[in-house]
Subunit: 193 residues, 2 copies
DNA sequence: ATTTATAATGAGTGTGAGCTCATTGAGTTG
DNA sequence: CAACTCAATGAGCTCACACTCATTATAAAT
């Protein structure tokens, strides 16, 4: 009996995934597999024991990332609240996952189709919560008469713009942490009547 | 006498640059040099007769691109006009240079530092014209009380967001052409008091 | 006409990536 | 304890890329 072996295998797999998240966050998705193997303290070949291709590793990794992120979004938005609260929550979640999320915004073009869809799915989830928080205020006539999708795209465009140019706006540390309140205040000022 | 040779050399160089613009616009900046040589109907080695490295070709190409684009911005904005006119002009210029500009927004991360700075310089030029058109309306109290740089970043964030997700919003043809009026109308609605 | 200078060529080189597979060695089974 | 299983290994394979350089073709100079 005993499943020491199974456990060890599982452990190695998780070491690889954790290393990949770290390496991809730091070096981008073009990082070579050797860097991941080195970070995981595992041989190069081990990666291909657990994943048939690097692409499959990437997709597996992003799927679990998206699941974590959307789960947290759901959890936090269940407590309800107005738009301003939702925006703060959105930024907080992105700060928590900023390493990989920033990479996704920057390098999405080079990702395989499946990975891009994962990223789109995340944004879709955000959109739903955004709508739930905004709808009452729109009905109440407190918001500018602009189509919902434009309100959403303006917000996401702004957030992604800051993430993309993070090196410019905040050379050290998190752009989102630094500009969180500015971004929310200005956006709220713009959309309110 | 005669400078047939000098002329031919110049011609070859221009063929390479023109081919590079076309290939980079279509395939992205990771396109191999062989694709550029093929498009220019020139041998692979010829590229390295004219440019010591592909990076130098890229930088040369982007510099002239930026020069063309900013020259056009200057020219058009000299005629003056309000913010709405300036936004329309901005979108029109981007539509004209959409191929390369879209690639710049998408792949800036992978570009060498010098190339990134060229892209930043373009945005800086836009910012100046933006300010010149907006300042009178801010003074007149017609615009929401939001810092100028946030007004600018919101606009550019929106434009870049549509360029980045062009495949999603407008699978065929130009996103900017399709959404030009929507983008301008909504943005104007947001920033006006 | 002959020599010289040089633009252009493209097979060849070096590098670094993803991926393979014979081998190893530790866990498991009878 | 012997036989077996299989996770893990890493040297080496293939491939695509940027870049080189001996060679060629042709304009320019003598």
């Amino acid at each position: 009996m005993a499943d020491t072996r199974r456990l060890q295998k599982e452990q190695t797999r998780e070491k690889i995934v954790a290393a990949a998240i770290k390496v991809y966050s730091q070096q981008g998705f073009a990082a070579p597999t050797t860097a991941i193997a080195g970070e995981a303290q595992v041989s190069h070949g081990s990666i291909f024991v657990h994943f048939p291709t690097v692409e499959s590793l990437l997709i597996c990794l992003l799927d679990s990332f998206a699941q974590d992120l959307t789960a947290e979004l759901h959890m936090l938005s269940e407590s309800g609240g107005d738009v301003e609260k939702l925006l703060a929550m959105h930024v907080d979640v992105l700060i928590k996952y900023e390493g990989l999320y920033k990479r996704l915004t920057k390098e999405a073009v080079y990702l395989p189709e499946e990975a891009k869809n994962t990223f789109i799915a995340i944004q879709s989830t955000v959109s739903i919560h955004f709508w739930q928080a905004l709808e009452p205020e729109i009905s109440a006539g407190a918001i500018k008469l602009v189509p919902f999708h434009m309100l959403f795209n303006t917000w996401l465009g702004l957030i992604h713009y800051y993430l993309l140019n993070g090196d410019l706006f905040a050379p050290r540390g998190s752009v989102l942490r630094r500009y969180k309140s500015t971004l929310i205040e200005c956006y709220m000022a713009l959309i309110k009547k």
